[in-house]
């Protein structure tokens, strides 16, 4: 096989993988509840951050 896969094609595949994960997630976890969405900025919100980070265990 000597065909070369172009960069745009590979990039679209990468976006497709992410889109598939998002679709799978929306189908299983459902859409987020907008009524519990955090304020735009954590700084000044008065609330503790609830996100997870790579440094956590």
């Amino acid at each position: 096989m000597s065909a070369r896969i172009s960069r745009p094609m590979v990039a679209l595949l990468a976006l497709g993988i992410v889109a598939a994960i998002l679709a799978l997630d929306l189908a299983t976890a459902g859409a987020p509840d907008l009524f519990t969405a955090p304020s735009a900025f954590a700084l000044g919100s008065g609330a503790a951050p609830t996100g997870a980070h790579c440094t956590g265990s």
């Binding site: 960069r7 299983t28 976890a29 987020p32 900025f41 008065g46 956590g56």
Partner: protein
């Protein structure tokens, strides 16, 4: 060209709007931050793994100096911000331990094999690099697998979480951090060849923009920039959809992680910036008149080696409590001692990876090429 560029804008703005509508303003803003990271990393060719290789192989310290400038700029703002707002902002602190050091060493080696680190893997995949796409799949699987064994690895022995703020206070901690970065810069300058010491204008601009985006990430999300958690979460979502009971695992049964697992990816900070970063890199590649050539074709065995290395890359990033972004960039810029230990261990690993690279990654003959 107009249609191509219009489609790029549609994808970038469309996903930002989608996140905003589905998950609220913070989600939309974090996608924009991620887009910014992708645009800068790919558009201005600011990287992590490449400069670590260049200082060793070519005595070119410009990329590494740019990294240190960006980290110093973030630290100068993040230290006082974190000290003044402890209830709203959290640093990227993690414990130094046996597994953490081993993980950082292995990560450093593997990132030279897959030709990209945490952020680099996303940038490479988004910009259409075939090795990057394979690495992304491996990284997702590896970081998820690493999460399943993290408790065992940390049980091998670890110090308490130590930070420069905790040991010295915010002001002195910042001074020591900046001094440490200056020391690394001095060693880099001493090692670099004449003419390869001072970053060009492009990298100065990139360092400034990366620092601004990292600070925006902190102010919006309440936590520093990270990569690995989001990729591991994607792997966990796939495993759960496949029927795996993750509630029986220590990591995913923990309160915060269980909440992320049962919630939408659109509410996960690192997932949002990761997706934005990928789209940003894609946008830069598609915006150009010529997308550029695909990476050099490799032998099938070499592609297998890339996939294996990427699995280990993701796994070791979990062991090390982060990759070049979460541990090195964000760890050091927010005062974590583990960030400094990560730097030393990963750089040693990177030197090993540079030696392994020509052995494991072999170009295919034109006849046998399939990339």
């Amino acid at each position: 060209m107009f249609l191509r560029r219009a489609s790029v804008l549609l994808i970038a703005l469309g996903f930002t709007l989608f996140a905003f509508v589905m998950a609220g303003p913070r989600a939309g803003l974090l996608v924009m931050v991620g887009l910014g990271f992708g645009l800068v990393l790919e558009g201005l060719r600011f990287g992590f793994a490449g400069p670590w290789r260049m200082i060793v192989t070519d005595r070119d310290g410009r990329g590494l100096i740019a990294q240190l400038i960006a980290i110093a700029l973030v630290a100068a703002v993040a230290f006082p911000l974190l000290a003044a707002n402890p209830g709203e902002l959290v640093p990227a602190h993690a414990p130094v331990g046996i597994a953490m050091i081993l993980g950082a060493f292995v990560f450093g080696a593997m990132m030279q094999l897959v030709m990209g680190c945490g952020s680099g893997t996303l940038v490479n995949a988004g910009s259409g690099n075939l090795v990057g796409l394979i690495a992304l799949a491996g990284f997702i699987g590896g970081s998820f697998a690493g999460s399943l064994h993290l408790g065992w690895w940390t049980g091998l022995g670890a110090l308490p979480v130590l930070s420069l703020q905790g040991m010295l206070g915010a002001q002195l901690g910042l001074i020591v951090t900046l001094a440490g970065l200056a020391l690394v810069a001095a060693v880099t300058v001493a090692r670099a060849a004449p003419g390869k010491r001072m970053p060009p204008r492009r990298l100065w601009i990139a360092a400034l923009l990366i620092a601004a985006l990292a600070l925006a990430n902190l102010v919006i999300a309440g936590q520093p920039w990270g990569i690995v958690y989001g990729l591991g979460l994607w792997g966990a979502k796939i495993a759960q959809a496949g029927g795996m009971d993750l509630g029986a695992t220590a990591f995913w049964a923990a309160e915060g992680n269980a909440a992320r697992l049962s919630s939408s990816i659109l509410t996960d900070v690192t997932s949002l910036t990761n997706i934005g970063l990928l789209i940003g890199a894609f946008a830069v590649m598609r915006w150009r008149a010529e997308p550029g050539a695909q990476t050099q074709p490799l032998t099938p065995a070499s592609y297998g080696a890339v996939l294996g290395a990427a699995l280990i890359l993701g796994y070791s990033a979990r062991m090390a409590f982060g990759c070049n972004v979460g541990a090195f960039f964000s760890g050091i810029s927010t005062g974590s001692l583990h960030g400094w230990v990560w730097l030393v261990a990963a750089f040693a690993g990177s030197m090993l990876g540079i030696k392994l690279r020509p052995v494991l990654l072999r170009p295919a003959s034109v006849k046998g090429a399939f990339a």
